[in-house]
Amino acid sequence: MSEADKKGKERFLSYTEAEKEAVELMLKKSPDIVLMGQGINDENAMFGVTDGLYKKYGTDRIFDTPLAETGLTGIAIGLAMSGYKVLYMHNRPDFLYLAMDQIINHAAKYSYMSGGQVNIPLVVWAVTGQGWGSAAQHSQSIHGIMMQVPGLKIVMPTTPADAKGLLKTAMDDKSPVLFLEHRRLFGQEQVVPEGEYGIPFGKGVLRREGTDVTVIAISAMVIDAIEASERLQEEGISTEVIDLRTVKPYDRELLITSVSKTKRVVIADTSWITGSVAKEISEFIYRELFEILEKRIEIVALPDVPTPAAYVLEDIYYQNADSIYYAVKRLMEDKE
């Protein structure tokens, strides 16, 4: 549990309820917040995050958009440059590929290219899908692709309390932030502290302490890592689970502390293996702690194919608690 989790009273909120609370607290306090997105004011209301907000705060500040993701991302950047804090919401990150020019060529570079003359306080929010037969264009985790871009921060909260705190930090940031969520996380309910609080970027959190293996997990894989670690505990294997929370920047200090203790590492990512965040982190660990590693690092990530629709193929494609369980077992083989 993070600090934010511990501080709370006994008040359970779902992931999207916690985010709605974060957004509403900011809207109440500051007239400079703008929310936009295709379907933001419809009955789905971004999975409930923006439910009814436009009735209180008006459609000038909370507005539905045409699809036009390239143009509208540019418009979001212009709004941000003019002094607004902008939250541009997308039901699915797959459509952000249409906005790559504006995110990568403009939002991420304008502060630097102008010698610091402009800031782009823009949060691009999107939810990765993992539905039943959603297939290749409604299921993508794009953080690996976007991680290469200097000037772009990437946040991937796992718990409701973290989603609330990280969304506030993202909105207060002067630079563009990609805020990526996962459909599988929306089922959770958790004690969420009341009032406004921020969680700093670049700070991961231990979801479980252990001594044999460190599982570094991203987003929905944290849930699987905890499930796997519970099974492993019954077999006498002690697993430490790190929830990375932000993948750029990521918490190098926490990784070094944990891996220095366990000397065995599994990295679990929600995206494809080649060129992934998992690979980036494994390179970091090899570089910093090569001498002390007992075994080579195990990576649990998606195979390099588009998401198949057929559920029999999805079962092979998606990684889960089992994948993490067996990865840990492989690392522990010589110990048994």
Binding site: G71, G78, S82, G83, G115
Partner: protein, 321 residues
């Protein structure tokens, strides 16, 4: 137009033309100092000057890779511009932008984008910010006929119209996208026709400073009055190559005849002739200005020469990632 007003506009155009000429003269000097790709504005000066003449400091201008003229016309600092071309840390972008990304927010010049249509939507968003704040400031974006082919221009124009945003779209139709002529890229003769059912459009002579200033004045007044976006297309011609210091004339690109015809219509030269027709006094005034201008430009280049380069650690500044 009163001749003294025309003289003021002439001076602004001549200043841009002269800065570009000096850049071209020095670009390949021994011990080359300017290590940045240049896209000179010669031939199109009337558009930048005539439009910006109607804008206030609080209004903002968005430009593209060919940004020197817009930057100067809107009041961007000349010394900082030349220092930027010289890779110096006194440059307007501290040496991190170069020729294609000039920016001077104090003068209302946003960072220029070399992804040619990139700023069209950003300018639209900025206009939305102005409207939300309830001020009367105008956002103005300059882009070429080539940029108008990007889908985000259509997206932005539709959205600007939907929300009645205070934005002036200025299309500088110089008929070439790098070296590809308009007729090989477009089904229609003008760019405006693509957008004429969405917002008010006009096609105008972009080489006549009086036409540009007058049409932009009317458009800006309407936009400030909350009438929504306007699209002005100025037909013009760059007398330089797309990139670098040449004239862009060769058998593969465009003919000498075509170039000569447009050179006759050079906006700075047209204004000069018009002034002298008004009164002989301008012969002397123009000569006097020439001296003043050369002095200003020399000082700007000296400032650039004398300025320090960015320190190594500055590479890590101005980024928040």
């Amino acid at each position: 137009m009163e001749s003294d007003k025309l003289y003021e506009l002439y001076k602004k155009m001549r200043r841009i033309a002269c800065v570009e000429d000096v850049i071209a003269d020095k670009y390949y000097e021994k011990n080359r100092k300017m290590h940045t790709p240049i896209h000179l504005y010669n031939g199109q000066e009337a558009v930048a000057v005539g439009v910006c003449e109607n804008l206030d400091r609080e209004d903002i201008v968005f430009s593209n890779h060919r940004c020197h003229g817009h930057y100067l016309a809107k009041g961007g600092n000349l010394k900082k511009m030349v220092a930027e071309l010289y890779s110096k840390n006194t440059g307007c972008c501290k040496g991190k932008g170069g020729s294609m990304h000039l920016c001077d927010m104090e003068a209302g010049v946003a960072p220029a984008s070399a992804i040619v249509a990139g700023n069209v939507s950003i300018a639209t968003g900025y206009a939305m910010g102005n409207k939300l704040k309830g001020n009367y400031n105008v956002s103005c974006v300059f882009f070429g006929d080539g940029a108008s082919e990007e889908g985000s221009v259509y997206e932005s124009i539709c959205f600007a119209r939907l929300k009645k945003l205070p934005i002036l779209f200025v299309c500088e139709n110089n008929r070439y996208a790098i070296n590809t002529p308009l007729e090989e890229r477009e089904p229609l003769n003008t760019i405006s026709e693509k957008f004429s059912n969405i917002l008010p459009v006009s096609v105008l002579d972009g080489n006549d400073i009086e036409v540009v200033t007058g049409s932009a004045k009317e458009a800006v007044a309407q936009i400030r009055n909350g009438k929504g976006p306007i699209f002005l297309e100025y037909i013009t011609y760059r007398t330089r190559a797309h990139h670098n210091i040449g004239d862009g004339v060769n058998e593969k690109i465009r003919t000498q005849e075509e170039w000569n015809m447009w050179k006759e219509k050079d906006p700075v030269e047209l204004a000069r002739k018009s002034l002298i027709r008004h009164s002989r006094k301008y012969v002397r005034l123009i000569d006097l200005y020439e001296e003043e201008l050369m002095k200003e430009i020399e000082e700007a280049f000296a400032f650039a020469e004398e300025s320090p380069f960015p320190k190594k650690e500055e590479m890590w500044e101005d980024i928040w990632g």
